[in-house]
Every structure is written in C-alpha cells, then in structure tokens.
C-alpha cells in the first residue's frame, strides 16, 4: 500500500521546494506516496496558542480523512505539522470522549487514527544501506544538521531520536557522503511562528544558529522543516541586521542534499527558489551550484 502524504500548507505554498525535492527523491527511491484528499491546515502554532480544542480539532479532521482513505501511516514532512498531528493522535487516543465528539463533527469514524511519521523516519527506512555506491555526486560537504524544536521535542509525543543532540539526520548525511559536524545548536529554536509578527526575534535566534554553524566550518545547514528553512533562509536579512555580519551559508532541505547526491537536477529540487543562493564550493564534488532569482 502507498504511504499517506500530508504535505501541509507551507509545502503547498512558500516552501514548495521542500515538496518538490521530496517527491523527486522519493520517486528516485521508488517510494510511492498518495496525498490525503481534502486535508486541511493543522492550525500550527496559532491554534494551540489560542484554543486548545481547536488545536486538536484541526489536525483531527485530516487524520480522520486519512483513516477513511485507508492509510495507517502518514508522512508529514513539515516538523510543525508533524508535531501537531502526533500530539493530536496521542491526545485523542487518551481521551475517548473528545475523540467521539470530533468524529461526530467531521462525520467520520476515527477508530484507528493513522500514525504520523516525519521525513527523517521515512528516510531511515527507505535509504538503502549501499546508498553510497549509487551516488552520482557524493555530497561531500561539512554540514550542520539543524533539527529545530518540533522534530525531537517532546519525546513522548514525537517518539523519535534523542531530545538533545539528536543524530538521525547526521546519519542520513553520512550516507550521502557528507561530514556532519558536532555543533551546539541542533535543537535551539529558530523563532518558529514569529517570522511575521516578530521578525526581530527570528533574526536574533537565527543569528546564533548561523554563527555556531559557520564558526565550526559548516558549508551548509541542512533542515527538515519549512519553518526552520524560511527563518534561516528567507529571513536571512533579519539575522544579518541583528548581528551586523553577512552570512552566505546556504540552507538546504535534507531532500535537496540527497537529490544532489543522487544526481538529480538542481531545478527539479527547487534550489532556485531559495533566497540565499546555494553556492557550494567547487572542486570537492563534481558540481558547482549556482542559482539566481529568475
């Protein structure tokens, strides 16, 4: 059976390169996905900030639809959506009354709520052990794997990796020939949903992250979350005006790095959509990547 796919709003909008690269890579790995039909927004941080019930109700509808469409597992590549969907499943499994109320409202059974998995979990499963042999252009860069908050916290909700100093993304990067760095800001917050209302906060927090990555010699920061990406990439200017420094380090989605290593086309991977140009030093691998805004 195909795995269910919950893209979430960002991937359908401002972070479409995440979705594009993800689909391209999974296609290359022969993994088939089927998008959950008629899914809706998970409510992200706005819902739980203002109304706890809403923060369960919104993801619940998508989960109920996924269940009705026969999925037992859902790939949720956005870390924020993943955390909301996982938290909702956990809460509703523990609260029968609420589960039944929501089931009535959305007129769906909600008996076997599908399990959400994040992209790293899926990659762990599907990346072949001998991947290195299949690489067309090993991604031999020093990378800082940035997990952010919601992929790993809190453990009892996400049930994935270690809460502090996680390692799964680093393992994946090793598989494509990269050298993941031991650095200190893997799970420090990027400012999350403050991108629009408090861009200054995002600037301050992202500058710390970029400073640490750059000072340890990272050539790229690898992420698995649209929010992290947009705060580190789209909001680059905010970081720069906070610290007064210029940062050129590119931010790549984990799937973009894998795609490059597999020899997929940079355009197919959406690299041209980044605000910070993805220029990786030549010579190390066969590729020189350049992109400019259209």
């Amino acid at each position: 059976m195909k795995m269910g796919y919950y893209p979430g709003c960002s991937i359908s909008g401002s972070s479409r390169e995440y979705g594009e690269s993800l689909l391209a890579v999974l296609r290359a790995l022969d993994v088939e996905l089927a998008e959950v039909e008629d899914w809706n927004c998970c409510g992200a941080s706005a819902a739980h900030n203002l109304n706890h019930t809403l923060s369960l109700a919104l993801p619940a509808r998508s989960l109920a639809l996924a269940e009705q469409q026969g999925f037992q597992e859902l790939l949720v590549p956005c870390a924020a959506c993943f955390s909301r969907l996982a938290a909702t499943r956990k809460a509703l499994m523990a609260d029968d009354a609420k589960r039944r109320q929501i089931a009535d409202l959305v007129e769906l059974p909600m008996k076997n709520i599908p399990v959400s998995i994040n992209l790293l979990q899926l990659l762990q499963r599907v990346l072949p052990e001998n991947l290195k042999e299949k690489l067309r252009a090993p991604f031999d860069y020093k990378v800082a794997c940035y997990y952010g908050c919601l992929l790993v916290r809190p453990a009892e909700v996400v049930e994935f990796d270690r809460e502090e100093d996680p390692e799964e993304m680093d393992r994946i990067m090793e598989k494509i020939g990269a050298a993941p760095l031991d650095w200190a800001f893997k799970t420090e917050c990027c400012g999350a949903g403050f991108s629009v209302p408090r861009t200054d906060v995002v600037g301050r927090l992202c500058a710390r992250i970029l400073d640490d990555a750059v000072s340890r010699g990272a050539e790229a920061v690898i992420v698995a979350c649209p929010m992290c990406h947009s705060n580190l990439d789209m909001r680059r200017q905010a970081s720069e005006s906070h610290s007064g420094k210029k940062y050129t380090i590119p931010i790549l989605y984990v799937t973009q790095a894998i795609g490059l290593a597999l020899g997929l086309d940079a355009k197919q991977l959406g690299l041209q959509r980044h605000i910070v140009p993805v220029r990786l030093s030549a010579g190390k691998s066969s590729q020189i990547l350049e992109n400019a805004p259209a």
Binding site: R162, E163, E164, D165, A184, D212, S215
Partner: protein
Amino acid sequence: MARIGVFVCHCGENIGATVDCARVAEACRKIPGVAHSVDYKYMCSDPGQTLIREAIAQNKLTGVVVAACSPRMHEPTFRRVCSESGLNPYLCEMANLREHCSWVHEKSDVTTDKAIDLVAMLVEKVKRNKPLHPIKVPVTKTALVLGGGISGIQAALDIANAGHKVILVERDPSIGGHMSQLSETFPTLDCSQCILTPRMVEVAQHPNITLYTYSELESLDGFIGNFKTRIRKKARSLDEKLCTGCGLCTTKCPNKKIPSEFNTGLGMRTAIYVPFPQAVPNKPVIDREHCTYYTKGRCRVCEKVCPTQAIRFDQEDQIVEHEVGAVVVATGFTVKETDFFPEYGYGKYKDVINGLQFERILSASGPTLGEVKRPSDGRVPETVVFIACAGSRDPAKGIEYCSKICCMYTAKHAMLYKHKVHHGQAYVFYMDIRAAGKMYDEFTRRAIEEDHVQYIRGRVSRIYERNGKLIVQGADTLLNAMPVEIEADLVVLATAGVANEGAEALAQKLHVSYDSHKFFVEAHPKLRPVETNTAGVFLAGACQSPKDIPESVGQASGTAAKVAALFSMDELTREPVVAVVNRTAPPLYSTCVGCFLCQSACPYQAIEREEIKNRNGQVVKTIAKVNPGLCQGCGTCVAFCRSKSIDLQGYTHEQVYAEVMELLS
C-alpha cells in the same frame, strides 16, 4: 470458663478523638467470657499498667486483650505486665485500634463499631490461647561485616575491640571504600587518607579480625545468633602468603593503559595492580579481563619477575564457610556518572566530570598529583562551574530524593579549588544549600565569604562546548530568573548518590528489605535505625542512604553496640511462634500422612523427618517434625498441609477460625 479482661486505651487523642472508647469497653463487657472491661487514657503508662495488674489479680483473669496501638509498639510491654502478674504472657493479645482504625477512618459510629469488632475478634482468639514458652537458642559470637568502607571498618574495629571475632568481607582488592578516594574532608578539611590509613592498617593487624578482600558473599542461611555463611574468595591469581607486596610485578607489567577504577578513569593502571599505594592488603590482583596472558595466552612477565614465585595463573575462586551470629551490612553507595544528562552532553565532554573525579584531581596522590588540571588538555582551569543537585531532586532524569552530601562537598570543592588556583573563579549553581550539621553552615558561608565562591541560585539548563570552553547556560532565580551564561574551563557535576551496584541481589541473599531506590531499609526510621527487619542483620553507613563520614561512623559504632549487646548473651530467647505437627494417641500417632509437601515449601529448611517407633522399635510411621530453632513462624507449611496437621503456635486454625467467625456473626 474463660475470664477475659479487656483494656481499651485512648492513646490520648490518637484513638480517643475518633473512637468512642467508653462505648467499646461497655460493649465488650457484654461478650460472654469477658469478666472485666475498662477504658483508660494511656494504658501503657504506669497507672495504666497497674490497672491491668490489679484487674488480673482481682478478677482472676485467664486472658487479656489490650485494645490500643500496634503490637509492634507495645506488645512486649503488656505481655511483661501479664507475666509479672502470674499470667502466661502469650495469653495477652493486642487489638490495634490506632493504625487499623482511628488513624485510617473519620470519627463516626461505624468507626467505633469497627473497633468493637476488632476487640471482639481477639477476645474469641484469646479464649483459645494456650500458655507458650519462649525458645532458647545459642549465640555464635562472631560477626560478619560486609563492605570495607569507613562504615565497615569502624563497625569491625568496634566489635573486635569488644572482644568478639569479626569476618570482614570486601568486594574490591582493598578496603577503604569511597573515603580512600577523597582529597580532604569537610567540615574540617583534614586529609582523608591520613585519617583513614591508620584504621585500615588496624583492621589488617587486629587479632580478632579475619579479612577477606576481593571477596563476596555467596549465601547466608540460618537466623539470629546462628547464621551459616559462604564467602567467595575471587582468584587474585597469586599466593597471598608468598607475596611480599614488593610491587615489582606491577612496574613490569607491559599492559599499562587500563583506566584505573580508583582514579575514576582519570589515570591508568596495569593489568596486575594494587589499586592505590596505601591499599590494605598491599597485595596485587590480576585483572583477568585485561591481562594479556588471559586474553591472548602469552606474556607471564609478572611470573618471571616475581622474586617469591607468588603468581598463580591457574588459581580458582575459593568458597570459605563460616558460622556467625550477626551480620553487619556496610556495602556503601556509589555516585552517578555524568552520562545520564542529555542536556549536559551525555557524558561526551571530557571536561564535564563528577564530584568523585574532582576529588581525584584534588588529591595529592591522584593522577595530577594534586594540581588542578582539566582532563582534556591538562590546562589549569581558570573558571570552574560546580552544579549541585545534578540528578538529585530530579524525578525526570535522576532520583527524587536529596543526596545529602553534595551541598557540603561542592562547597569543599569550590573552596579547595580556590585554595589551589588563587586567580581562578568558582561558580556554584544550587537550588538550596543544605548544610545542617555541626560546623556545616559555617563551612559553606566560608566558601562564599572568605574564598569568594560565586553562588548562583538556579539550575543549569544546558552545557555545550565552543572553542575549548564549556558554555554553561543557567539562570539567577534571585534576580527575576535572569539568564546567566558562563564560559567555563571545567564543569563539576555533583551527581546523585545512588545505591551500590548489586544492592538488590545482596538484599535478597540477606533477606532484608530495600526501598524503591535499592537502599536497604532499617527496621524503624526513628527508633531502630541500624537494625533491619531480619533479626541479627544490621546496617551501617551509606548502604542505607547517602551519608557523610561522621554520620557513617556514628551509625557504624551504633551497629557495633547492637552486635556487642547481642553477643553479651550466651543464649537467645525466641518467640515461640513456630509451627508444630500435631500428635495424637496410637495407633494414629498424628494426622500427618507423611507427604512432606511442607518440607519442600519451607523457606528455612526447618522441617525434618521423624520416625515413630512402636514398643518393639519398629518404625510404624514417618511424619514431619518442625525444628523450632530454624522455624521462623512464616506459616507457609500450614497453608501447604493438606491434612491440616500443622499448626502455628499462637495462630492455630482454631484461633483464627474463631476470630473470623466472630467477625461474621
């Protein structure tokens, strides 16, 4: 016809405020067979006891029920009163109106009704009580002391000096325990080795002490005054009688890169080694896990260089057996490593160490010879952060209790660091300073006032490394939880004090109870702090809960006094609550059919076979017989006996049924 006296105690407000004691006494007066029934404020007081004495004499009582507190508290008192009045003490029983009634219920009529039921049940029982007589058993005046830390050493010396034999068993190659690893000791800052070594030597030389190091308890059977113990002497791989402790082997052993346990992994040792120079006994052991001969089949350098040919590669573990009358458990504690804290780096930073490691760094005999140098690069740390309660008072990642000693040793560490590195800066992150002891608070104040240690009230959220510095992120909760970030060269975690490895298995061997943290449990937290619930097994030191040296030593001497008191008797009297197999007239002799199910069920091997012979000396029947010296009165056999031929004295079928029937009527 039974003439039972009922004595209802108010226990002040304890029972009286909840149970209507007068009504209980009145109700009991109406029970057939009750000749006398009164209530009184404090039955255990002198006037209370006199009340009972007079009632026994005047009413010619044949049995007594005291309705008061738990029999654990006052049964001996009231049985003594009866016995002084000429009544067999086992004709007196206690109904527990306090723990079983007033403390667990609200004041109400139903509560009083329950109290009446409790007394009535015992009245029915006492009507069927028979006079019993205590059992006498001899005492073996040798003590087994387990663990050779300061507690075990102190207990062993005190018992030996009282003139009794002691067998001291230590798991490690040397005695000394944690105290031998310490630098200087709070609150007086005297050198730990200097005050400990003389005691260790005294143990080794004491004529009354037999020392088994590198040894462990294999089994313990029997009961107070009469234990049988088997001790495993692990193979040292050398003949201790021949070895002179010259140490040539340890200098020549080519295998020199084994992390030394004594130096908490900060220094190295050889495969044949003496853990530290002052070790007692000063005889090496071969660590077979690392020795090249045992792992690769060649080397034997030590054998070649030993001037007395003491090395024995083929030596095997040896089991020695001893009979002892008392056991002192003094197996100590241990401290957590640094690896259990994800946010402090999972133990991956070399310069994040625990308190015991810092003791070794401070110690003149330690890996840095007492100079404060950090493990990663040997530099002298300019800024040191000490973190108290690391894993203590932390239900999430450690243990919920307070480890008790770390506030003090952290103050000591910061102080000693400042004494050695004058220009250095010491910070202590703490939640509370717990320094309740003689000269203790003064000690921590001195660290702050005289040595200028910066105390910051708050826990540290995270430590990470950057450019050779450890970035410590804390907060000052006395300043509106203001974030505090310190760039440290060394971080010392006062990690939680926890039960020793193997404590659980040892407790099971000794039949003593342990708490949820695997610390051994005392018989009573206030009144019997050095005894366990198993008679004849005593506790000393940090195996009961984390303790400092003064407390450990005090407790060890207390235990020794208990043991000496026990050994002052030639015979022990034991409660006659033992099982008996019934006997009847011939030709039946007993209802026992000789199935011996009871024999396999008895956890104390107390059931023997008895052959019943007729007048001609022919065996007519083989039945079970209980050895009253071994029987612990657990009653397991009673439950197993299908022909109901075994009864527990004092708790016979007849008595227990009578109690139940009374409750149901």
